[in-house]
C-alpha cells in the first residue's frame, strides 16, 4: 500500500513540476493522477499540524483567501488549493505539492477551500481541525439541488474532531454538527455525537435597511415543529435572526459578533469571547463583512492572537479578480463577480449596486459559459434571482450581453424595469460600446466566474472610452 502511495506521489509531483515549468500551474491534474493511482491518497498524504477547511455556498473562496493571506503575512508556510480546484483532486494537488518526497507535510498550516458537494470525498480522509461553513443557500439547480440537500451532504460527512465555525445568522448551516446528525431536528437523527461549534455573526448595522422582499427564503419554517419562523431581523433571504413562536427554537448567539463598522475610517468593531477589538475593514459590503468575520473567527479559534490579526488585517486586501474599482475621471468603474447559475450571489450583487449612491449603468454579462457548453443554458435560476432590485430609478441603464440576453431582458421586464432603460446584444464584448456614459456616476460590469477575461476586455474598452472623453473635454476647455 505504501509503495502504491509513494509511486502516486512521485508521479504526481513530477507532473506538478512539469506543469510549473510549462507555466501551467494551478490545475488539478497532479491530484487526479495521484487519486487515480492511489485512491487512498488523501488518507496517506502527510498533513500539516493545522488543517483549516472552508466550505459553503457563497464566500468560501474569499474566506479561504483571507485566511491564507493572513497566515502568509505572519510568515507561516501555507499549503492551499488557492490556485487550483476545490474538489478532491484539487485538495490532493495542494497537499502533494507541499509534501516532501517522503510524503511528509512541510507547511505549518493547510487552508483548503472545499466544494460542498465534495464533502464525502474529502472529510473522511483528511483530518480537518477547523471547518468553516460560510452559509448555505440554494445554488445551481443541476449541481446542488437545494440547500437542505447540501446541508445533508456536509453533515453526514463531518469529521467529529473538527471544530466548526458557523454563521449564526444562517439557520441552515447553523444546524451543522448537531448531536444526532442531519435529521436531529426532525426527530430522525442518529446516535452520532455533535461537533464543537463556534458562531460568528453581524449585528444590525446603523442605518441598515432590512431586505424583507427577497424572492427566496430557504428556511421559512421551524425545523423542529414546522411553525412559521418569526424573523426579528431579516438581512436578506434567510439571513437574519429568527425564533419559532411555538417551540422556542432560535438562531444561535454569535461568539464573534461584528458590532459596527466605520466605512470612512475602514474599521470593523468585533465583540469576541475575550472582549472587544477593532480591526481594519477589508470591504464595506455586508457579504464581505461576513467573509471577514468567518475568517477572523476561524483564525482566532486556530490560535492567532488579536495583535497578529490586527497586523495582518491591516496589510491584506481582497483578491482583485472578484471586485475591482477605479476612478476614470468623474466615473467610477467597477468589476464585480456575480456568479451565473447562482441566484443568491447575483441577488446580493444587484442589491449592493442598487444601494450605492449616484446614477449607475450596469453591464450584465451573466451567461454561464460552462453550463452553455451543451448549447443552451438552463435559465431557471433567473426566476429565483432578485432582478427586481435592478428596477431602481438610479440605475439609468442596463446593458445586457450574451446569447441569453433575451431571457435576462424578459426577466427584467417581469421585474418591472422599463424597456427604455435596457439595451441588449448577443455579443458580450459589444456591451462596452453600448453603455451611455452621459450623466452617470458609475459603471458596474457584472460577470460570471468563467468570463473574467471578457469582463476585463469590456473594462479596457470602457476605460478607453472614458479616457477619450476626458481628453476631449480637456481639449474643449
Amino acid at each position: 500500500m505504501r509503495i502504491r502511495f509513494m509511486l502516486a506521489l512521485w508521479l504526481a509531483k513530477a507532473c506538478a513540476c512539469t506543469l510549473r515549468l510549462l507555466k501551467r500551474g494551478g490545475t488539478q491534474l497532479p491530484g487526479r493522477i495521484a487519486l487515480a493511482l492511489c485512491p487512498a491518497f488523501l488518507s496517506q498524504i502527510g498533513l500539516p499540524p493545522l488543517v483549516i477547511a472552508v466550505t459553503g455556498t457563497n464566500g468560501k473562496t474569499t474566506v479561504a483567501n483571507i485566511v491564507v493571506d493572513v497566515y502568509e503575512h505572519l510568515g507561516f508556510r501555507v499549503a492551499s488549493n488557492r490556485q487550483g480546484s476545490n474538489l478532491n483532486a484539487g485538495v490532493a494537488a495542494a497537499l502533494l505539492t507541499d509534501a516532501g518526497l517522503g510524503g511528509q507535510a512541510r507547511a505549518q498550516v493547510a487552508v483548503l477551500e472545499i466544494d460542498e458537494r465534495s464533502s464525502r470525498l474529502i472529510y473522511p480522509f483528511v483530518a480537518v481541525d477547523i471547518l468553516v461553513c460560510t452559509n448555505l443557500f440554494r445554488d445551481s439547480v443541476g449541481r446542488n439541488g437545494h440547500a437542505e440537500y447540501i446541508a445533508f451532504l456536509i453533515d453526514s460527512a463531518l469529521p467529529l474532531q473538527a471544530r466548526l465555525v458557523l454563521n449564526a445568522d444562517d439557520l441552515i448551516s447553523a444546524q451543522l454538527g448537531l448531536p444526532g446528525g442531519a435529521g436531529a431536528a426532525q426527530g430522525t437523527g442518529t446516535a452520532r455525537a455533535g461537533n464543537e461549534r463556534r458562531f460568528y455573526g453581524v449585528a444590525p448595522l446603523p442605518g441598515e435597511v432590512q431586505r424583507t422582499d427577497s424572492l427566496s427564503r430557504d428556511i421559512a419554517i421551524c425545523p423542529v415543529c414546522s411553525t412559521a419562523l418569526h424573523y426579528s431581523f431579516v438581512r436578506y433571504h434567510h439571513i437574519g435572526r429568527a425564533v419559532c413562536p411555538n417551540c422556542g427554537f432560535h438562531s444561535p448567539e454569535a461568539d464573534y459578533l461584528a458590532t459596527g463598522i466605520d466605512p470612512l475610517a475602514a474599521t470593523l468593531s468585533v465583540q469576541m469571547p475575550a472582549g472587544p477589538a477593532t480591526f481594519r475593514l477589508l470591504n464595506d459590503s455586508v457579504f464581505n463583512i461576513y467573509n471577514q468575520m468567518a475568517a477572523l473567527a476561524a483564525l482566532r479559534e486556530a490560535g492567532l492572537d488579536v495583535e497578529q490579526l490586527t497586523s495582518a488585517f491591516s496589510a491584506i486586501k481582497l483578491t482583485e479578480s472578484r471586485y475591482h474599482a477605479e476612478e476614470c475621471g468623474s466615473v467610477r468603474l467597477v468589476m464585480q463577480l456575480a456568479k451565473g447559475q447562482n441566484a443568491i450571489a447575483c441577488s446580493r450583487a444587484f442589491d449592493y449596486i442598487a444601494q450605492q449612491p449616484g446614477r449607475k449603468a450596469l453591464v450584465l454579462n451573466l451567461d454561464d459559459h460552462f453550463d452553455a457548453q451543451g448549447g443552451s443554458e438552463n435559465i431557471t435560476w433567473l426566476y429565483d434571482c432578485d432582478y427586481e432590485y435592478l428596477n431602481d430609478p438610479h440605475i439609468a441603464q442596463l446593458v445586457i450581453g450574451g446569447v441569453r440576453s433575451h431571457d435576462h431582458y424578459l426577466r427584467l421586464r417581469i421585474a418591472g424595469v422599463p424597456p427604455e432603460r435596457m439595451v441588449r446584444t448577443r455579443h458580450e464584448r459589444d456591451t462596452a460600446d453600448l453603455v451611455d456614459l452621459e450623466n452617470i456616476d458609475a459603471v458596474y460590469i457584472l460577470y460570471d466566474v468563467y468570463t473574467v477575461d471578457t469582463a476585463k476586455a469590456v473594462r479596457s474598452r470602457l476605460q478607453a472610452r472614458l479616457q477619450a472623453r476626458l481628453t476631449e473635454r480637456g481639449g474643449a476647455q
Binding site: 440554494r138 439547480v141 443541476g142 439541488g145 437545494h146 437542505e148 440537500y149 445533508f152 435529521g183 426532525q186 430522525t188 427566496s216 427564503r217 421559512a220 419554517i221 414546522s226 411553525t227 412559521a228 441566484a343 451543451g374 448549447g375 443552451s376 438552463n378 435559465i379 431557471t380 435560476w381 433567473l382 426566476y383 429565483d384 434571482c385 433575451h406 431571457d407 431582458y409 424578459l410 421586464r413 417581469i414
Partner: protein, 261 residues
C-alpha cells in the same frame, strides 16, 4: 361573475427553482385573477371553494413529507376536484405526492402518497438526473396541432408506473417519468403533473395560451400574454436550440422505454 381564483399551495416550502414565478406570470396575464397562497399550517382554500387553478411547486425531500402530512387528510376532496375538471398544475417533484409511494433509501424512509395515480417514486440522492426536455403536448382538440414544450428537469427521483393512458408530454428529446421512459408526467382531465421545473410557463407561451383558454369561460376572447412578444421570442430561440441536434444535455430513454413510449 366571480374573478378567477388561482391557489398556490404551501409557498413557504414548495418554492424551489423559481417555480413560484409561474403563478406570478399567470397572474400578470390574468390581472383580474385572485391569487390565494395557502400556507402549510392553514386550511387550503380548495376545501372551502373550488379554485380555478391549484398550483404546487417543487420542494425538498423533507418538504414532501410535510406536504403529504397535510394533504393526506384531503385526499377525497382532491380526487373530487380532479374528477370535476379543476385545473391542477404540479411541477418538479410535487407530482410524486399524488402517487402511491415515495421511497428514499439513502435517508431510509418511505412515504405513503395520496394514491391518486399508480406511480412510485424512488429517490437516489447521489445520482441526480439533469436533462433538457423537448416534448409535445396534445391539446386533445381534433382541430389543433400538439404544442411543443421546452423545459428542464433536475431531480433525485425516478418515477415508475404506467402513464401511457395519461401523460403530459411525449418527449422527442430528453426523458419522461424515468430514464427508460419517453412519456413525461401525467394528465387526467385538467390535472397536469410534470417533473419539468423552473419557470415552465414563462418558457412556453403556447402552453400558457392553452391554459388560459381552459381557465376562461367558454367564448371569452383570447388574452394577450404579459410581455408576449419578448416571451415568444425567447421561446422560439430556445426551441431552435433544443431542436438543433448539436445541442446536448438531453438524457436519452433506454430502448425499452422508448418502445413503450
Amino acid at each position: 361573475m366571480r374573478p378567477l381564483q388561482l391557489e398556490m399551495l404551501y409557498p413557504e416550502i414548495a418554492n424551489l427553482f423559481g417555480d413560484t414565478q409561474n403563478l406570478r406570470y399567470l397572474a400578470l396575464c390574468l390581472p383580474e385573477a385572485e391569487l390565494v397562497r395557502s400556507s402549510l399550517n392553514e386550511e387550503p382554500a380548495f376545501l372551502r371553494r373550488r379554485p380555478d387553478l391549484i398550483y404546487l411547486g417543487p420542494m425538498t425531500e423533507n418538504g414532501q413529507r410535510l406536504a403529504l402530512e397535510r394533504l393526506l387528510s384531503h385526499r377525497e376532496r382532491i380526487a373530487e376536484l380532479i374528477a370535476d375538471g379543476t385545473v391542477f398544475l404540479c411541477t418538479g417533484n410535487a407530482l410524486e405526492l399524488f402517487g402511491e409511494r415515495i421511497v428514499n433509501p439513502v435517508q431510509d424512509y418511505e412515504l405513503e402518497g395520496l394514491g391518486l395515480f399508480s406511480l412510485r417514486s424512488e429517490l437516489a440522492l447521489f445520482d441526480r438526473l439533469n436533462s433538457k426536455v423537448l416534448g409535445r403536448f396534445d391539446t386533445g382538440a381534433s382541430d389543433s396541432e400538439p404544442i411543443t414544450l421546452v423545459g428542464f428537469k433536475s431531480q433525485f427521483s425516478q418515477v415508475y408506473g404506467d402513464n401511457t393512458d395519461g401523460f403530459f408530454l411525449r418527449c422527442t428529446r430528453g426523458v419522461g417519468l424515468n430514464r427508460s421512459s419517453a412519456l413525461e408526467g401525467v394528465r387526467r382531465n385538467n390535472f397536469f403533473g410534470t417533473s419539468l421545473l423552473g419557470p415552465m410557463l414563462i418558457l412556453n407561451p403556447p402552453f400558457v395560451r392553452y391554459l388560459i383558454e381552459l381557465l376562461l369561460p367558454t367564448g371569452e376572447a383570447p388574452r394577450h400574454l404579459a410581455f408576449e412578444q419578448v416571451a415568444q421570442q425567447a421561446y422560439e430561440e430556445r426551441l431552435r436550440e433544443f431542436e438543433d441536434p448539436r445541442t446536448s444535455g438531453f438524457a436519452s430513454p433506454s430502448s425499452a422505454g422508448a418502445a413503450r413510449g
